[in-house]
Amino acid sequence: MSEPTPIQIKEDKIYKTWGLSEAEYSFISEKILGRLPNYTETGLYSVMWSEHCSYKNSKKVLRKLPNDSSRVLAGPGEDAGIIDIGDDQAVVFKAESHNHPSAVEPYQGAATGVGGIIRDIFSMGATPIALLNSLKFGSLDNNQTKHLVKEVVAGIGGYGNCIGIPTIGGEISFEKCYEKNPLVNAMCIGLLDNTQFKHGQASGNNNLIVYVGSTTGRDGIHGATFASDEFSNKKKKQRSAVQVGNPFIEKLLMDACVEIIQEHSDWILGVQDMGAAGLVSSTAEMASKTKSGLMLNLDNVPQREKGMTAYEMMLSESQERMVLCIKPEFEKNVLNFFDEYNLDAVTIGKVTSDKQYKIFHEGKLVVDIPVDSLTDEVPEYDHHGIKPKRISEDREQFDPQIASFKESWLNVLSSPTIASKRYLYETYDSQVKSNTVVRPGSDAGVVRIRGTKKAIASTNDSNSRYVYVDPYIGGQVTVLEAARNIVSTGGIPVGITDCLNYGNPEDPEIFWELDQSVQGIADVCKHLDVPVISGNVSLYNEFNKEAIYPSPMIGMVGLIEDISNITTSAFKKSGDLIYLLGSTGNDFNGSEIQNQLLGRVEGRLNEIDLNAEKKNQEIVLDAIQKHLIKSCHDLSEGGLVAALSESAFDNNLGFNIQTTLTSKQMFSETQSRYLITVDSKNKESIEDLFNDNFECLGFVTNDSTFSIQTADENLDIELSEALDNWKEAIPCLMN
């Protein structure tokens, strides 16, 4: 089968099936090249100009996000962002979505998502220290969704467990809109010494390009354009885009790359992972950053299959591969170094001065285009947003009619979104490396930094119901919830990575959701002075034209200055006083209770007082640092009902509370609140700190009962009954 000629590509508009628009194609042929691109060249443009690689539809929106603070050493643009944590150390982190691959092939899609984000971290010379993930699926009421959940979770665990990086946190939720388009976002955090920082760059004439890792096969070709494409029943052939992950090889690659960057930085100029759009994206990005040219000889690329074309090799997304730019005099050292790790390393090209991207295959020059044109000349689209009709004007709150307080309490606990996810996350090794201080199950996961008093807290959050009903405030809430999770653990929020998961941005209503929610995220980040240092955009999350809820995911990292400050959400002992910090209003729109009673969420959200929010964060951190607090849990979905129950479960304790709130308000999801326990001897000091803005609800008990007296009724629930509802809900639905 021979490749279409340039003329055929133009006349049959083949480029369109690869995602290039007519305007883009003519810009390439008329303005950039002055001739028609051949088959391979057209392929390179189509992947490099896809949304996944170029952010052409979202760049404008992303500029809203603040990316600087006194701690930022590198922001967006590198493989991952870098945050200074003092003592010459830094953390590097990033999140990545693997939604479409996981829909097609859940195990491998999730596994390679984890593998890909780990490479982003170690390509910076950082040692990966923790993984997190955020997963969204359809309702757990059909076999197909159960299968997806089982396989995605197995893929995440399979990769992370084998490579030996602890998975310390994440989130999982279930909503009809994700049934055919699940979201799989993975985040990795690495630790780095500032001085070792390596840019992914290829510079200096005649420096060599070295390929390391697995062989190149036909897997995943056009994965990047695939990720930027809508899904429909018709596109069954997308199955060919499957990539297969191999965590064993990645472990060797990780150990080798970290060692070569840290121990032999004089040999190398740049390191880049091959992620989406494989060889072309990694090498073109390397070259364009330094305004150099590049020459590659594909005959040297280790190949797994016979007869691969240049097009196939350049676009292959075979996993576990890296490229390095090295000094020619150290070529032997580098190749021998990788050989010791049983890794294949070969020189495939060199840096040139002519700013051209030249690819040779079987002795012929098959690509000859300006490097810049792949990365810098991508058109940027300015979309027009229109407010969706469903978004109402008034902020009137839903009034939940609660027939039975007890029944509603138990229903909230057994709702899959709130119920314990232990059955799923216990399949992840959360402790390997022996640094995990807070494992999944509390607010944020925490790993200590060996040899220092410091620890890193991290969380993944997204509440897409809120973003759906009110994109701007929903965006704000997402960041605030993440920040409260960090603060509850004793951490100071220092940086954010995100995954922006939305539908088709060419739909003005969806673009409006994107634009508004990012504005909300940006405004809160500025207010809290927390920069967004890396991230990822995943658009076109639709199935047969049904878009998902707008689902920005926030991955936040916090610094805990002293491990003695680490706090968890679990009640510690009977007799401790229980406080609610922050005031409770009637916030039922977008809430769990609304969803349960109405079967849907609707209505706008109340505006958030960011000053109050910030003040409460400061109070909590202050109290934690003064060691006044025994446990701290932020309030989110399910309000006080969920927070009280979750805090009680861990140590099998009960509680006895008496509140001025109504039973309804126990389900309210007002922002800026924390549930805190305190040794009774510290009553005065803590109330001083809380400064009026609190209610002392009661105390922790060990009589295995939840005793609740609200403004309108009394209720006793057996701990065991509540626990059963919460703990068994997911295993029950899964089996």
């Binding site: 467990n161 084998c162 049983n342 402790q431 490396k433 640094n435 494992r439 200590r448």
Partner: protein, 224 residues
């Protein structure tokens, strides 16, 4: 005391063990590659957890053919202490230093959690610092941790007091709730739970520390 932690491609708890020795009991320790052929000069051999060779074929199966293995067997037969944890336990059964086999958990899933163990034999060089029937908490993290052996072997294990740790509840379907066993001579211990992850309270438990202390104490008393 001078310890060797043997590293295979894919081992991932090697540094955990290293730190347990260095920081937990303050002794000499070196990482030794699977490519080596000699363990001269070491007083204790530690085989770490992880996924040697990606757990291809069966966990531990490919590692059992690595160059270092003959030397491990030689030292074990000389009576030197050999400890295999998790993947290390799997390797020790594959090379025949310990009886039985580890295979898929009854749940057919990987499980990571803190579990309760009972010390069933405190008269070994690995457990002398524990009380008999002491209850301890140590984490597990494995997908293939179900211990299996035939009834004759089980009988022998019981007769010779080779069962050192038992799970307090049935966590993975192991025969007789076995979590760790020794060889007949009691100088080779294999266990699925990770004592090296339980040497500091901040990590959730320090109950694993006595295992390493026991090894040190026994060696000291032997030297005297």
């Amino acid at each position: 005391m001078n310890f060797a932690v043997i590293t295979f491609p894919g081992s991932n708890c090697d540094m955990d063990l290293y730190h347990a020795i260095k920081e937990g009991i303050n002794q000499e320790v070196n990482l030794v590659s699977y490519k080596e052929k000699s363990l001269e000069g070491y007083d204790g051999i530690l085989i770490p957890g992880g996924f040697s060779y990606g757990d291809y074929l069966r966990s531990g199966a490919i590692a059992s053919h690595a160059p270092i293995i003959d030397e491990v067997i030689r030292l074990a037969n000389q009576g030197k202490p050999v400890l295999g944890i998790c993947n290390g336990f799997q390797i020790l059964t594959e090379i025949g230093l310990l009886p039985g086999t580890l295979t898929n958990n009854r749940q057919n899933r990987f499980i990571c959690e803190q579990v309760g163990l009972t010390v069933e034999n405190n008269k070994t060089l690995f457990t002398s610092k524990y009380d008999f029937k002491e209850k301890i908490t140590i984490p597990i993290a494995h997908g293939e941790g179900r211990y299996y052996c035939d009834s004759e072997t089980l009988h022998g294990l019981n007769e010779n007091n080779q069962i050192v740790f038992r799970y307090d509840s049935d966590v993975n379907g192991s025969v007789d709730r076995i979590a760790g066993i020794t060889n007949k001579q009691k100088n080779v211990l294999g266990m699925m739970p990770h004592p090296e992850r339980a040497i500091e309270n901040i990590l959730g438990s320090a109950d694993g520390l006595n295992l390493f202390k026991s090894m040190l104490e026994t060696q000291k008393s032997e030297v005297q």
